[in-house]
């Protein structure tokens, strides 16, 4: 289990998170949603140990403050929202960097893991390309492959491992969005824990087991998708009229902006 209690973060005098509590279970995909600037990335950074925040984060019962960087790296991996790379790595070299992260030795690793991870994110055959020459979406998937390689086994010595993903599909086309979300689900179903910051509410509704809706540094709602995705909370947080629906074959919530009611389809 991952549990964060009373997380507060201020940058200068400006409070960004106010006593946020967050709990995620292993075996589940937990999405964090909320408008730009609501504190999603900040919450993720507090829980991964990037930021010193007041409050406490326990990962499988241990305070992250009591774990060394190497011990943390064996328990969780993080896909940041953005990043730049200082030197010209090939795709294979970059993904391979995740291979021994946090491990004392290089022994006992499957040398084909980087290629397996690349295949998983739809980049088989890209090993020899230079990362800086890739498209934005390809680069995002290369980074995801690196993160996967770091904690490939979702459960290690009986303890779940945690994937923290900050907007993993923001640069991806619809096909690759589905591939990456399915990959995150598979990781959770195999016993690991996944915490993903998301913007696409419908994709979130389709794939998440649990959702936390963040607004202005507070938790507005948290729970199962049908509990959190309500017209009132969504419209209030995002500042626009949103209506949820449950289309028949899916049965889950589907979110439609109401601006659509005032528009006629171009083809109609």
């Amino acid at each position: 289990m991952l549990s964060a209690t009373d997380i507060s973060v201020s940058f200068g005098k400006r409070p960004v998170l106010n006593s946020v509590c967050f709990t995620a279970n292993a075996g589940e995909l937990h999405a964090i949603v909320g408008p730009n600037g609501s504190g999603k990335t900040t919450l993720l950074r507090a829980m991964t140990g990037d930021l010193t925040a007041t409050g406490q984060t326990l990962i499988n019962g241990t305070d992250i403050a009591d774990l060394s960087p190497a011990e943390l790296a064996q328990r969780r991996a993080v896909l940041p929202q953005s990043g730049n790379i200082a030197f010209p790595f090939t795709v294979l070299e970059l993904v391979r960097l995740g291979l021994h992260a946090g491990m004392p030795s290089r022994a006992g690793f499957d040398p084909n893991l980087p290629q397996k991870a690349l295949t998983r994110v739809g980049l088989a055959g890209f090993e020899g390309r230079f990362v800086q020459d890739l498209s934005g979406g390809e680069r995002q998937r290369v980074q995801l492959a690196r993160v996967l390689v770091q904690i490939w086994e979702p459960v290690l010595n009986g303890a779940p491992r945690w994937l923290f993903l900050d907007e993993p599909v923001s640069a991806l086309d619809i096909g690759h969005q589905l591939i990456v979300m399915q990959l995150a689900r598979d990781y959770a179903e195999a016993g690991g824990g996944v915490v993903a910051v998301m913007h696409d509410l419908n994709l979130t509704a389709m794939f998440a087991d649990r959702i936390t809706l963040l607004n202005a540094g507070h938790v507005r709602a948290t729970g199962r998708p049908d509990e959190v995705l309500t017209d009132g909370d969504l419209s209030a947080c995002y500042g626009c009229a949103l209506r949820t629906n449950t289309p028949p074959p899916f049965g889950g919530k589907w979110i439609l902006p109401q601006a659509i009611a005032n528009r006629t389809h171009v083809g109609a």
Partner: protein
């Protein structure tokens, strides 16, 4: 109908480790040849170099003159050149990894100037130290002071040029210019207070030259450089991870603060010791890592050892050039490296212009 091909699983695509290994073997060979060439290169002709080398190892015998030329005059110079070249190239690579920037060079960003300031201060002001300390520190005083000077400048540079784990090229180079100017000015001031004897030492030292190499000097600086070179590969995992940013390096299990402190110590030790015995020699630290990264990739585990080898080779060749072009006089080796390295640096700048302006 289209035939779908299997995904390409050639195991070596994108893997440059074998290439790096082959390059290392080649460089070892070239280094041996370069050292033998450098040993045979000198004003005194018809010297039986191989014979003297073997005699030194207890095989056969040659004239006392040949023994002196090879073992007491040329050998310390060759060993100094190789060690200093290795130290400069490796410290350049570490500095570039630390700053996440291929344009960092100990000479360009003021680290050498800081080390030089330390060395000059030790030469001139060392006389004021209590006799006990002077006797205790002995010849290590200059190396130690150069190390402290280089370390302090690197530390200040890092504080000034890096914010939230990011270094902009402009800030780094400008801060380096400022630091070099400040340490240079204070160094000049100290030189004013020096005695005639000290002044001779300083001039000789300031030329950036391996001509004054002796076993005595090498014994003070050599071990420091050796320790820095041997320990540098332990930084490689951290430097690799740092290429993705400080936050990502921490995610990957690197103790970033400790790793940065160790990198700065390593750079200061290499540059400090190198500057203490040969003065400032520029551009080796930027040209060598850049060339190697181009052909074998940025992975530090294979980059750093190859930098040491190629750095040693480059400095030995530069030394041979410096002994030849204005023979029988000698050109300071710093002039030779700047003549080759300066245009090379401009070329890198041109190639990276878009990145730097962005």
């Amino acid at each position: 109908m289209t035939v779908l091909s299997e995904p390409d699983f050639t195991p070596l695509a994108g893997d440059r480790r074998n290439k790096a290994r082959a390059i290392r073997v080649g460089l070892i060979g070239v280094l041996i040849v370069a050292m033998l060439l450098a040993l045979g290169w000198g004003a005194a002709g018809d010297t039986d170099v191989i014979g003297a080398l073997l005699a030194g190892l207890g095989v056969g015998e040659v004239s006392a003159r040949d023994m002196t030329i090879v073992w007491d005059i040329r050998m310390p110079r060759v060993a100094t050149g190789a060690l200093v070249g290795a130290a400069l190239a490796v410290s350049g690579a570490v500095l570039q990894g630390l700053f996440r920037n291929p344009l960092a060079d100990p000479g360009l960003v003021g680290v050498s100037a800081g080390a030089g300031f330390g060395a000059v201060a030790a030469i001139v002001l060392g006389g004021f130290l209590p006799l006990a300390i002077r006797e205790f520190a002995g010849p290590y005083l200059i190396v130690g002071a150069a190390f402290i000077g280089g370390w302090a400048t690197t530390l200040i540079l890092y504080q000034v040029a890096t914010r939230r784990g990011r270094t902009t090229v402009a800030t780094m180079l400008l801060a380096g210019i400022a630091l070099a100017a400040i340490t240079g000015a204070v160094t000049g001031l100290i030189v004013y207070w020096s005695t005639d004897d000290q002044l001779r030492d300083l001039t000789f030292w300031g030329m950036g030259s391996v001509a004054g190499a002796t076993w005595a000097k090498l014994i003070t600086a050599g071990p420091v450089i050796a320790i820095a070179l041997i320990s540098a590969p332990f930084l490689s995992r951290g430097l690799d991870a740092l290429a993705l940013g400080e936050a990502v390096a921490a995610h990957m299990g690197i103790n970033v603060q400790r790793m940065k402190r160790l990198s700065i110590m390593s750079v200061a030790a290499s540059v400090g010791a190198a500057v203490a015995i040969t003065g400032g020699i520029g551009f080796v630290g930027i040209v060598v890592p850049h060339l190697l990264r181009l052909v074998q990739g940025p992975e530090h585990r294979s980059l750093l050892p190859n930098c040491a080898l190629l750095g040693a080779i480059v400095l030995l060749l530069a030394d041979m050039v410096s002994r030849t072009v204005v023979a029988p006089a000698e050109l300071p080796i710093g002039i030779v490296t700047a003549m080759i390295g300066g245009p090379f640096f401009l070329w890198i700048l041109l190639k990276n212009r878009t990145m730097l302006e962005g």
